[in-house]
């Protein structure tokens, strides 16, 4: 019984899937690179009592495929923020690329995000921490998802650890939570290793982290 709501972010229509109804604060799931919103509630969040919703990022699932690429973590952050605008407040779980975006949402919307879990998944590492010799290539236009430009560009965007940790500080400064971010990921690329080292970042499996965040206001 997945209901889909289309949200408008600029010229892009984003699909927000309601996986399950419930009482209380919604849980927002952000998928990994090349994935899409899951079709059913994943086992690791089955205990969540509030509504469970999942977003298709730009170029993924049922969302718009843009002309000629141009992806950045910042525009995907604004995708996630469009979902947050529709939900009000939410707890967020991000997988892979979605974890990197969830971290930025936790910092950028610190009062609306009530706990963020960063989990393993495709696109977790991204590109290097500094400029590389990566060249530029043009791909054939196509309208199916996942968009090859998303796969290309979001597998090589630069993720310096000291940039990622600014979002941790923003979340800690403004959320009012002692531990607004929990790292569940076992694999820790440089940006995530930097995040884990910050004061106020917890480490726990997804289920445990969600049980903690379920109990807060």
């Amino acid at each position: 019984m997945n209901a889909v709501t289309m949200l408008q972010h600029g010229k892009v229509s984003l699909a927000l899937h309601r996986l399950r109804d419930g009482d209380g604060r919604p849980l927002l799931l952000l998928h990994g690179l090349g994935e899409r919103a899951p079709s059913a509630v994943p086992a690791w969040c089955d205990d969540w009592t509030g509504p469970i919703v999942a977003l298709d990022f730009t170029g993924h699932g049922m969302s718009t495929v843009p002309r000629g690429g141009g992806y950045s973590a910042e525009t995907l952050l604004a995708d996630a923020d469009a979902a947050l605008a529709a939900l009000g407040r939410a707890t967020v779980v991000g997988r892979g690329l979605g974890a990197y975006i969830a971290l930025q949402l936790a910092g950028g919307r610190a009062t609306s995000v009530r706990g963020t879990v960063l989990a393993d998944g495709p696109g977790l590492a991204g590109g290097s921490v500094q400029p590389t010799s990566a060249n530029y290539v043009a791909l054939e236009p196509r309208q199916t998802t996942p968009d090859p430009y998303a796969l290309l560009e979001m597998s090589r965007d630069l993720r310096p650890p000291d940039y990622a940790t600014v979002f941790v500080k923003m979340a800690i400064d403004r959320s009012g939570l002692d531990e607004p971010i929990t790292v569940a990921a076992v694999t820790r690329p440089p940006w995530l290793a930097g995040v884990v080292d910050e004061v106020g970042v917890a480490q726990a499996p997804i289920r445990e982290a969600l049980a903690t965040y379920q109990s807060i206001d």
Partner: protein, 322 residues
């Protein structure tokens, strides 16, 4: 890649254009498809002369070169410029990024020549071309950068906490803008109102020039003039990018390189000085500062800058020989 089928006329050189001394409309205008993105290309000079590419800056458009480009064309070049996606007469796209701009440039260049050519870039266009020269040097015979070298900002005297607060405010402000962007529209106004608004970005440029720009970079609707640029494009934003990540590509360039900076720093520019550039110059590279000139060196001093460029790149091979 351009095909004959993809080339159509763009623009409407109606009698509504506000005149400016020395400004010449492009002699040829057509479209190039960069994948699914349609780009407007503008050319000055003989069609069979060797090409010279001219990249515009952020929030500008190719026709801001209407005085400068004809001076280069007079030197015997086929001057090719294009509107970056979202700017001028090019498509407004869903996403905008550095990599997207870079692929668009590649499509335009591929449609014109497979030979190395002189490339001139102003501001953001200069920074884009610097990165392209590092990634794809085979496209460049010489490069001229017009006040387009980002450099590290001075480290502000701020605590870690203050910096976090500043960043948090920037991100929140940007996200608030993104929430409204689907319904964004440019505010219409009279020709003089648009000229006045642009004057805030270009405080050193004459009213006569700004009025001219409105009539070549705007469109006249029933309720007034509007800039053609995508209303979803905004100044500012944030990201992991650091200014020094561009200039560090400079020392490795093998093609002859000339930078022309303006001594008068203004908001639209990077505020980089010749002293900062010096240690990054490639072997034989030159950096010249024009005293008493602002960020738009080619608009404030078109004859001087064109003469410097023409002298630097040398005479073109005979028409048709390239």
């Amino acid at each position: 890649m351009a095909t004959d089928d993809s080339i159509t006329q763009v623009g409407d050189d109606s009698n509504e254009i506000a005149p400016f001394p020395g400004a010449w409309a492009p002699e040829r205008q057509y479209r190039v498809d960069a994948g699914a993105v349609s780009l407007a290309v503008h050319e000055w000079g003989a069609a069979d002369a060797p090409p010279l590419f001219l990249a515009h800056g952020g929030f500008d458009f190719a026709r801001t070169y209407e005085v400068f480009a004809p001076l280069l064309a007079d030197g015997g070049w086929r001057v090719v410029s294009w509107d970056q996606r979202g700017h001028g007469d090019s498509d407004h796209t869903e996403l905008y990024s550095w990599d997207g701009d870079m692929r668009d440039v590649m499509a335009v260049m591929d449609s014109v020549t497979d030979q190395p050519s002189p490339v001139v870039g102003h501001s953001k266009g200069g920074a884009l071309m610097l990165q392209l020269a590092d990634a794809q040097p085979f496209r460049f015979s010489q490069m001229v950068n017009l006040d387009g070298l980002p450099y590290r900002r001075p480290i502000p005297d701020a605590s870690d906490h203050e910096r976090t607060t500043t960043m948090a405010n920037e991100v929140e402000h940007w996200l608030d803008l993104r929430r409204r962007v689907a319904t964004a529209a440019r505010k219409p106004g009279t020709l003089d109102e648009l000229a006045e608004r642009r004057g805030k970005m270009n405080p050193r440029l004459s009213r006569e020039w700004l009025r001219h720009l409105v009539t070549v970079g705007g469109r006249h609707d029933d309720d007034g003039w509007r800039w053609k640029i995508d209303p979803q494009m905004r100044f500012g934003g944030f990201g992991p990018w650091r200014p020094e990540w561009t200039i560090t590509r400079l020392p490795g360039l093998a093609m002859p390189f000339l930078a022309i900076l303006g001594s008068e720093h203004e908001a639209m520019g990077f505020g980089t000085t010749a002293r900062q550039v010096e240690k990054f110059l490639p072997d034989g590279g030159r950096c010249v500062t024009l005293e008493g000139v602002g960020h738009f060196v080619h608009i404030e001093r078109p004859e001087t800058v064109a003469a410097m460029v023409l002298e630097f790149i040398g005479a073109p091979a005979q028409a048709g020989a390239a």
